[in-house]
Structure formats: C-alpha cells, structure tokens
C-alpha cells in the first residue's frame, strides 16, 4: 500500500518527471551540443587557417585585386588596380543584370508556353509539352554548357560575323547592336516623355472610369496610348536627344566602345536561365489556369468575350492567386541559379568570388557571397509576399 497521506511533491526527484523541466533541459542540452560543436569546428578552422598563414579578416577588400572584369554596363568596369570591394560590386551588378533580364523574359516565355500547353491545337500542345519535359528533366548546368560551347561558340569568329539588320553582328564573340548615346537634351527628353506617360495613364484611367460608369464608348486605351506616343515622338523630333552609335568591325572583330556589345557569356547565361525557368513557369501557369473552374470560361463565353479577353480579364487574374506562391519559388531558384554563370565565364558574384579565392582566403569571401545571395533571396521573397497579399481575395 502506498502512503496517501504524504503530499505528492515530497519526493526529492519529482522534478525529473516535470514536463516543463524536461523541455528546458532538452533544449539546453541541444543548444550546448550545437554550441560546443560550433566552437570545435570554428576552432579547428581558424587553427588550420593560421597554420597555413591565411588571413581571415576583411582587410583585403580595400586592396587592389589584380584581375580585371570585362563584363558590365561599361567597357572594362573593373581594372587590375581596383579594389576587391569594387570587384564584388561589379559582380553584384552583373548578377542583378542577369537576374532581372531573365526574370522578365522567362515569365513571358512561361506564360506563352503555359497557354500553348492548354491549346486545343494538337501540334501546339505537343510542342509545348516537348519543350517543358526536355528542359525540366535535364540539369541546368548541362543546358548552359550546351548553349555556350555547342551553340554560341560554334558561330563564326568575330572577324567574320553573321550580319543582321541594324546593322548588328552576331558571332562567337557575342552580339553587337547599335547603341543610343545620350546627347545634351537626353535628360530633358526623358522628363518630357515621363510627363507624357503620366498624362496618358491619367487620361486612360479617367476615360475607363467614365466607360465603366456610363457605358459610353470612350476609346480609353487608344487615347491614352496615343497621347504617350505623340508626346514621346514629337519631343524626340524636336529635341533630338540621342545619337545612334553603330558597331564597327575591325580586323580582329568588334571595335571596343562602338555600339553595344553583349558578350557571348551573357547571352549564354540569359538563354540558359530563361529556357530552364520558362519550362517550370509554364507548368505553374498551366496548373494555375486549370485551377480556375470551367464555369468561369463558360460564363465568359456566353457573355460574348473572345478567347483572348477571357484569358486576360477573367482567367489569368483568378489564376494569379494560385500561381504567385510557386512563382515566388521559381524566381528564388532563378536568382540562386544565376550563380551558375560562373560555369560559362560570366562574371557574376560567384564567378568573381571563385577568381578571388585563388589569391585571398575563402572564409571571408564565402561569408560575403552567401550574405549577398541570402539578402537577394530575402528581398525577392519579401517583394513577392507583398504581391501575394495584394492579389489574394479580400474577405471582409
């Protein structure tokens, strides 16, 4: 018989069976194990680095890097005498350039293929499926290698390029197109054009509201777009803001500083990212469109909407709600995949870091690189979250 007169808590080790105590203990144990592990690993690493006489501080950032980068908005943005910090900035600019361009293009491509994937036309549908399956089921790195070495580098050499209208030139050295050089009136023209756009948009929205309220035909889009165009073109004719700079061919290829020269490396990473991400976005678009109930299509058709109008006004806005979260994932993947540009010689953050790692300690470099990618991902995720809350159905 147990003695029931004793109060239950009088046993000295009762707290061992207390859930609250156990939880705290378990957590502290886990924490201390992880902290100890961390101390051991960091200690080992710094000891190893010290033994190899590799500095681990960030003081190298202000020193000259000793390598040059040819890739960027201007010709040779980073010279041998520029600092390491400058090289990182140029790399980041290049990453952003690749990410922004391929983000826009891959969205357009994905939208197009996703709609084609649902076409009633057997051939269009099959071609879309073939494209999606091919690019989804092979690694991006392989696609990049293929595009770069087997497509772009097999073009004729820069001295004898393919001539395109423009005149533009396409060769294994990249694409050279005419470039616009801003004159003294360029800023003025930009201001006027921006003003024209503001006026056009305001008119457009005002007229559309009139149409929605009264049912009158107001030609909102036509007038709005017309105003923008007329203002822009007239101001252009009057101000002559830009002069055109044509690319020129020298004996050994394009002459630097003439026209806009887009390097083959940049073309390769853009093509690779766009084709790869486009295939995934197409599947997202397809499932988004399919998530809209068929009744919506039927109702719209019975109201006399055309196919394009149904897609644009009825289906896509509803599909967007389903599409945005997976689309966010794809954009994040795209930003991270841009680090593969290093494999085709495109000087983005990781590529620059890899070059640096030959002369400086990797620890600070990789901390900076990971920090850059992490903040890039977090910013993208934050922007897409805002979009997501904007597009969700508002319930009151």
């Amino acid at each position: 018989m147990t003695d029931l007169t004793q109060p239950p808590n009088s046993q000295p080790f009762a707290f061992l069976r207390d859930v609250r105590f156990l939880r705290v203990t378990v957590q502290l144990a886990v924490l201390s194990v992880i902290v100890l592990l961390g101390i051991w690993l960091v200690g080992n690493t710094s000891e190893g680095l010290a033994r190899a006489r590799i500095p681990t501080d960030f003081s190298f950032l202000s020193q000259p890097s000793g390598f040059q980068i040819d890739e960027g908005f201007v010709d040779q943005p980073h010279k041998r005498t520029d600092s390491y910090a400058n090289a990182f900035v140029i790399g980041l600019i290049n990453t952003l350039r690749a990410v922004v361009v391929s983000l826009i293009l891959s969205t357009l491509l994905g939208l197009f293929v996703g709609v084609a994937r649902l076409s009633t036309n057997y051939l269009v549908r099959t071609l879309a499926i073939g494209y999606i399956e091919l690019f989804q089921n092979t690694p991006l790195l392989l696609q990049l290698f293929f595009i770069f070495t087997s497509v772009l580098l097999t073009l004729p050499p820069p001295a004898t390029p393919i001539e395109l209208p423009g005149p533009s030139y396409l060769s294994s050295g990249g694409l050279a197109t005419p470039n616009l050089i801003g004159g003294e009136n360029a800023t003025l023209w930009l201001v006027v054009a921006a003003l024209g756009i503001v006026i056009g948009v305001t008119l457009w929205r005002r007229l559309r509201r009139v149409r929605l309220e009264t049912g009158q035909v107001t030609y909102a889009a036509e007038i709005g777009l017309g105003v923008m165009l007329v203002v822009g073109v007239l101001a252009w004719l009057v101000l002559q803001p830009f002069s055109v700079d044509f690319p020129e061919l020298g004996r050994f290829g394009y002459i630097r500083g003439k026209g806009a020269i887009i390097s083959a490396n940049f073309v390769a990473i853009i093509l690779g990212l766009v084709l790869y991400t486009g295939a995934f976005i197409a599947e997202i678009v397809r499932s988004g469109i399919q998530s809209v109930p068929v009744g919506q299509w039927e109702a719209a058709r019975s109201q006399g909407f055309t196919y394009g109008q149904i897609l644009r006004l009825i289906v896509i806005p509803q599909a967007l709600r389903v599409m945005i979260p997976p689309l966010t994932n794809q954009y994040l993947n795209l930003a991270k995949n841009s680090s593969l540009g290093a494999a085709v010689g495109f000087a983005e953050v990781f590529g620059v870091a890899r070059t640096m790692a030959q002369s400086v300690s990797v620890v600070p470099i990789m901390i900076i690189v990971m920090g850059i990618y992490l903040s890039l991902s977090l910013i993208t995720a934050a922007v897409m979250n805002v979009l997501n809350t904007r597009f969700q159905i508002k319930t009151r």
Partner: protein, 462 residues
C-alpha cells in the same frame, strides 16, 4: 406553338475518323490552321536538322570509345560486375514496387518493347550494311551508330528485363497478399540501400571477395547515382527532424493586444517579448535553430555550399584526408535536408487538425502521435512534391562538376579535353542529356502514376 416530337430530337452525329480528328485538333478555326502550319514548319525543320546531324554528321565514336569511363569513371574494370549486380538489384525492386503500387499501361509496354527492338535491330541491320562503300549513308550508319547501339544494348536490356521481371513478381505478390507484399518491399528498399552502398564501395583488401574501391575512383554515371542515392537517403531523416523541430510547440497562438503608444512602456516590451517567446512554441530554442538552418540553406545557391564545403570541411574537421566525394555528399545532404524539411512541413500543415486531436484524445503521447498518426499521413500527402525534389536532387548532383568532381557531366568535360575528341561537344552533351532525361522523366512518370492511383492521397473515410 408546336411541340417537337421526341423522335426528332437526336444527338448531333459524332464525327469519327482521321479527317474529323484533324479538323477538331488541327484546323478548328483559320487561326488554328495558321498555327498548325507554322508549328508544323518549325517542328519539321528542327527535327530534320537534328536527325540530319545525328545520322550523317555526328562522330559517335567519342561515346563508344569512352563508354566505360562515362558510366563508371575509373572504377576498376574487373570489378564492373558489382555495379551490374547493384543496378540489377535496384531495378528489380523498383519493378516490384511498380507491380504492387503502379499500373502497366499499354503505351509503356510498347515503349519498352520498341526500345529493346531498336537496340537489337539496329546493330543487326548494320551487320548487313558493313560492306557498304565508304562515304555512303549506310557506311556511316554501320561505322558510327551501330557500335553505339550495340554498346548500349546490354545495359538497356538489363534494365528493362529486371524491371519487367520485378513487375511480374510484384503483381504475383500483390495477388497473394497485398499488404504483406507492400511491407516486404518497403523493408527490401531499406535493406537494399546499404547493401548496394557496400557492394559498390567494398570492404576487404585487394584479394578478398569485395576489394575496397576508393571513392575518388567513382566517376561518371556511377558517381552521379551514388551522390543522389546517398543524399536522398541521408537527407530524408534529417529533413523530417528539422520539419518536426520547426513545427514543434503549441498550436495556440497568443495575440499581443497593443495599447496605444505601447512602445513607450518598457513593461509592454516585456509583455510583447514574452508573447513572442510563447508563440514560438514550447521548444523556442530548437524551433529557432531549425528556422535559421532551413532559411539560411534555402537562401544560398548550392554551388556556394559545395564550394565552401570543399574548402572548409577539411579545415573544420582538422583532417585533410577526407576525399572530395565525401565532402560533396555531406554538402548535398545538408543542403537538401532544408528543402525536404519544408516539404514535410507542408504535408504536416495540410493534415486536418482533427487527426492530432483524436490521437491526443485516445491518450497517445506526443511522440506516439507523431510517429503513428501525423507523420505517416503527412509523408503520404507530400509524396508528389518529395519525388519532384528527388528529381531536382538528381539533377543538382551535376553541380559537383564545378568543384571538379567527375560525375557524368564532369567526366564528359574531361573526355572533351582528350586531343582526339576536341570539339565533339554536341555528341557528348546530347548523350549526357539523354541519360539525365531518361532517369528524371522515369521518376516523374512513376510519381504521376502513384498520384493517379491514389496511393499518395490521404485515405478518406467511406
């Protein structure tokens, strides 16, 4: 008003036949017809270009010469049988699983039979053409394509044969006792994975039964597979633990009702802090650690992880002898665990809360409720996404080429560096792409079948 007699109301005739199909699928409207013609033009042009290149210009000797290197790297040639046995075992059990949980469609059978026939017919036909005069198409076919096909014949026949035998066994087992067959197959997978690993790696010295093969001699498709295999197996438990850690804590969230200008009152700060702390759940430290781990690894590219692991792991462990393959395996496992964790968490969140409540009401402890009630169902929900992630993982292994490991893609780069094959990019990349495509597509096809058969969904009552 006259009523229409019932006999006059008939269904519009359903048009059948090839012409009706054409009209319905290709020439519905003028726009449709234009699209058809344009797409047909582009498609025919592309296909014609590709086949013209593949059949008359490509030099496939780059593949046939390096076939063994592409498949197994510098793995000792006399030990190749071990790899064959491993592949056979895995395909067999894959076939058994397919027989139990999947379905055999007629199209699949046709594809298999057609594929096998091609590999028998082409070399045989090439035999007949072998004395064709130089420079003709027939000479090219027998000289270039036939050796490639006859090299591929054995692996492909082995794969298909084992798959079909496994399928038959699986069907038989399913008919005998479905439940038991399923359980044994799962156990089979679990047992097979370490067996295959040790079969490939070996553990005895040079003259024993299974001589030890160092991991730096693994290469080509073998390395790709072993990386993906080890990473998939190892990241799965880690991912589940991370997901549970992130989900840990109570389901009740407390709301911080902020009075106006609460930030002026330090007591309110404490209140907000305590609410945040309690909202983190009952294991706030563990939860925080899991969140930091998951979000950090999901925010950085895999190449940077590989790169860092490659240079820092030997330093961090104070041991320079850890070979590069092991480093890559560790990096891939740690990286993918973060993604698996998020997928499993998605499955856990999709589970109706009633499941956990019912388990609690029945008196199951939290551990029991997780192990027997919520986790199995969550994993079942997550199967399609998990398979998608496994495919990604399989493709991601190609990134080890950047830290100069010789996986399938990496070794194809070293093959291209051989003097006699410089400039043969297209042939080798097309071959590598086909290999990746076959396995990725196979996995996604299997996942789709599993989804369609309903095994992936939560079982519903009634």
């Amino acid at each position: 008003m006259t009523s229409i007699p019932a006999s006059a109301v008939t269904r519009p005739p359903v048009e059948r036949g090839a012409l009706a199909w054409l009209k319905k699928n290709l020439f519905r409207t003028p726009f449709d017809s234009a699209m058809t013609i344009i797409v047909l033009g582009i498609g025919v042009l592309l296909l014609a270009q590709f086949f013209q290149w593949a059949i008359t210009q490509a030099q496939w000797t780059v593949i046939t010469t390096n076939f063994r290197i592409l498949l197994q790297g510098t793995y000792p040639a006399d030990q190749g049988g071990r790899l064959g046995l491993s592949v056979a075992l895995i395909t067999l059990i894959a076939g058994i699983s397919w027989g139990i949980w999947g379905k055999l469609f007629r199209a699949t059978v046709f594809a298999f039979v057609g594929g096998v026939l091609i590999f028998i017919i082409v070399p045989a036909a090439a035999e007949g053409l072998s004395d064709a005069p130089q420079g003709t198409l027939s000479a090219y076919l027998s000289g270039q394509l036939a050796p490639l096909f006859s090299l591929l014949r054995e692996p492909v026949m082995l794969l298909v044969g084992c798959l079909l035998i496994g399928y038959a066994v699986g069907r038989l087992g399913k008919r005998l006792n479905r439940k038991r067959a399923g359980r044994y197959t799962l156990i089979g997978w679990l047992v097979l994975i370490p067996i295959v690993f040790f079969l490939v790696r070996g553990f005895t010295d040079a003259d024993g039964i299974l001589p030890f093969v160092q991991t730096n001699r693994w290469g080509g498709l073998l390395l790709t597979f072993m990386l993906a295999f080890v990473a998939i197996v190892a990241c799965f438990p880690l991912g589940i633990l991370l997901a549970l850690g992130r989900m840990s804590g109570g389901s009740h969230t407390l709301e911080f009702k902020a009075p106006p200008r609460w930030w002026l009152n330090p007591l309110q700060w404490l209140h907000a802090l305590s609410i945040w702390w309690r909202n983190l759940g009952n294991y706030p430290i563990i939860k925080l650690l899991c969140i930091v781990y998951i979000e950090f690894l999901r925010g950085v590219p895999l190449v940077t992880v590989f790169f860092t692991a490659n240079l820092i792991v030997p330093l961090a462990l104070g041991d320079n002898n850890i070979d590069a393959v092991l480093r890559a395996m560790v990096a891939l496992t740690l990286f993918e665990a973060a993604y698996i964790a998020e997928i499993v968490r998605g499955g856990l969140q999709a589970l109706p809360p009633g499941q956990l409540e019912a388990a609690k009401a029945l008196g199951l402890s939290p551990v029991q409720a997780t192990l027997f009630i919520t986790l199995p169902q969550a994993l079942r929900i997550a199967i399609p996404t998990l398979v998608g992630q496994f495919i990604t993982m399989f493709k991601d292994t190609s990134l080890v080429a950047i830290i100069s490991l010789t996986d399938l893609l990496g070794i194809s780069r070293s093959v291209l560096a051989q003097n006699e094959f410089i400039g043969r990019h297209r042939e080798i990349y097309v071959f590598v792409a086909i290999v990746y495509f076959v396995f990725s597509y196979g996995m996604s096809y299997a996942a789709r079948q599993l989804e369609r058969s309903g095994s992936g969904a939560v079982r519903k009552l009634g």
